[in-house]
């Protein structure tokens, strides 16, 4: 399931439609892709982009769907101020009304006013900190009741309740650590320290020094990109020096680390524990386990769902998201109230360079405001995904 090709895989274009050999006429629909192909978090962007392109190829080749997607790509290059204008460029200068994109919450919040203004929709395929339910965004990766809370429920009985919280200096880290602090202190635990680094910073020395003195039971890592890689390498060195800081006694937890960043981490990732809806090889969501990472899987799931929503509905590609969902007669994956999805919750540990599940909690509906009784089990997902 790793393809970098784009556009229709078979057939040929005729005036905005594609004739699939031996099939009916397919509507050709432009689809925006807004991923940074360079910069601090480009490994995640590339994973999402790979998943989106794989789904586009599959949609285009699927004779059961009467749509083909033509990707329209813009690359913000990791520059936060480029997201809004490039999203506007996609919506205003092309036929695309749906944009799959954004990695950081900061960039998502920059794009939301644009999709709201022009009646577009953002499909967001990255875990995030919750407390959002835009009428113009679909969230196909996990929110805290699907990652952070189950992870804390696992770690506190297993390792203890003294936590050290770290993050990149923007809303993801701030909100994850706020929620973690609330849950940990409610459970009678203690936060031994909380530190932030600017995105891209390598200055992890102070965190390591504080860990040496406070000796927590676990570390919640909400750093992203280069800062995270630097910290995990330094933490492995600390573990070599002081046995308390080995994964067996004081693990590092993450809610956004997937296989797509393991190549950048090498042995530093060993023993790291992450929560996510998918780890390589796990079947069930959103297909047969052929994805490189949950980032790839969530972007794939977004594009497949959009194709299902648009297929056999002439003109639906111009509808705002609320109308698109309201007119859906099939079994959709998007909750019409919150625009979040039902996802499996899996806790996995890195062993020999790969994630191995240690706990699987089944399907949990996204509850962005933590107001619906978290962990409420839902009926198993019965929809067949080709």
């Amino acid at each position: 399931m790793r393809t970098s090709s784009s556009g229709p895989q078979q057939g040929f274009y005729v005036c905005g439609t594609t004739i699939l050999r031996g099939q009916g006429v397919k509507r050709r629909i432009e689809l925006g892709l807004l991923y940074s192909r360079s910069g601090s978090y480009s490994l995640i962007s590339e994973a999402c982009r790979t998943g989106a392109l794989a789904a586009i190829a599959m949609v285009n080749a699927d004779p059961a769907l009467d749509v083909t997607f033509l990707p329209v790509e813009r690359d913000p290059g990791g520059n936060i101020d480029a997201y809004g204008p490039l999203c506007e460029d996609i919506i205003r200068t092309t036929g695309a009304r749906h944009v799959v994109g954004c990695v950081t919450s900061w960039s998502r919040k920059e794009v939301i006013p644009t999709v709201e203004k022009f009646g577009g929709t953002l499909w967001y395929a990255v875990p995030y900190e919750g407390f959002e339910a835009s009428d113009h965004v679909v969230y196909t990766h996990a929110c805290p009741n699907q990652h952070l809370l189950p992870l804390l429920d696992w770690v506190m009985p297993a390792h203890g309740c003294r936590a050290y919280l770290i993050g990149s200096n923007y809303i993801w880290g701030w909100e994850m650590n706020r929620l973690a602090r609330e849950r940990i202190t409610t459970a009678g635990g203690e936060v031994t320290g909380e530190r932030y680094l600017p995105i891209g910073s390598h200055e992890v020395g102070r965190m390591i020094e504080e860990l040496r003195f406070t000796r927590p039971d676990f570390i919640l890592n909400s750093l992203i990109g280069a800062s995270s890689y630097e910290f995990l390498a330094a933490y492995r060195a600390l573990g070599a020096e002081d046995a308390h800081f080995r994964p067996e006694t004081c693990p590092v937890l993450s809610c956004n680390l997937t296989e797509c960043e393991l190549p950048a981490l090498g042995p530093s990732a060993e023993g790291l524990v992450a929560a996510g809806p998918y780890f390589r090889g796990v079947t069930g969501w959103p297909g047969a386990g052929q994805f490189g990472s949950s980032h790839e899987a969530a972007a794939y799931s977004a594009v497949r769902e959009l194709a299902r929503l648009l297929s056999h509905r002439e003109g639906a590609e111009g509808l705002p998201l609320s109308h698109l969902l309201a007119g859906d007669t099939g079994a959709g994956i998007v909750d019409p109230e919150t625009h979040h999805t039902v996802l499996p919750v899996i806790i996995a540990r890195v062993k020999d360079g790969a994630f191995q599940p240690i706990k699987q909690l089944g399907a949990v509906a996204g509850d962005p405001y933590l107001s619906r009784g978290r962990m409420a089990p839902v009926a198993p997902m019965l929809r067949v995904v080709s």
Partner: protein, 203 residues
Amino acid sequence: MKRRSIRIPNLGNARAHILHRPHPTVQALTRQLTAIGLVVNQSWPELGAEALAADYIFFDADMGHDAMFPWEAGQPPVPMVALIGSEAPGRIEWSLKAGAHAQLLKPVGDSGAYSALIIARNAFDAQKALSAEIADLKRRLEDRQTVVRAVTLLAARGKTEADAYAQLRQMAMAWRISFEDAATRIVAAQGAGKDADDRPRRG
């Protein structure tokens, strides 16, 4: 004064009432509130009985007037959010008099409801806590004369004023009542011609 800690409430199944005529703003606000997890009702032009069970009230600041609310003007029993379209000074003034704790500008779009809920709740709680504190302070201020009389009575038994004051404090602690209540008890006992210490102890 110590800053009150801010509480982020769990809004699951909290009840919101929107007092506004049917309008796209009501739809947009209902969508936001439902996504957050609240149960939403709407009425116009009156609040209606079911609104008394609401946890939050959103009201139209453009067309509103005091008679819409079944309580004394400016004394809402729950947090209130003004829906302001026309930012005219008279309408803002009325919204404040009606007791608005937060506001949302019309037309309501994709966001704003969550922060309005949290800010209104916090302002409401702060107002309630301050009112209670002020009422208590007022009462204590009124009891000043009683305290002076009680200290004078105790001092009349041969104590210095400072010792009488310390004794009154000890009595209040022993009886587990406020300093002012202890003073009232001493003065009342004197009036009844007996020693306050003769009263049965509590606890």
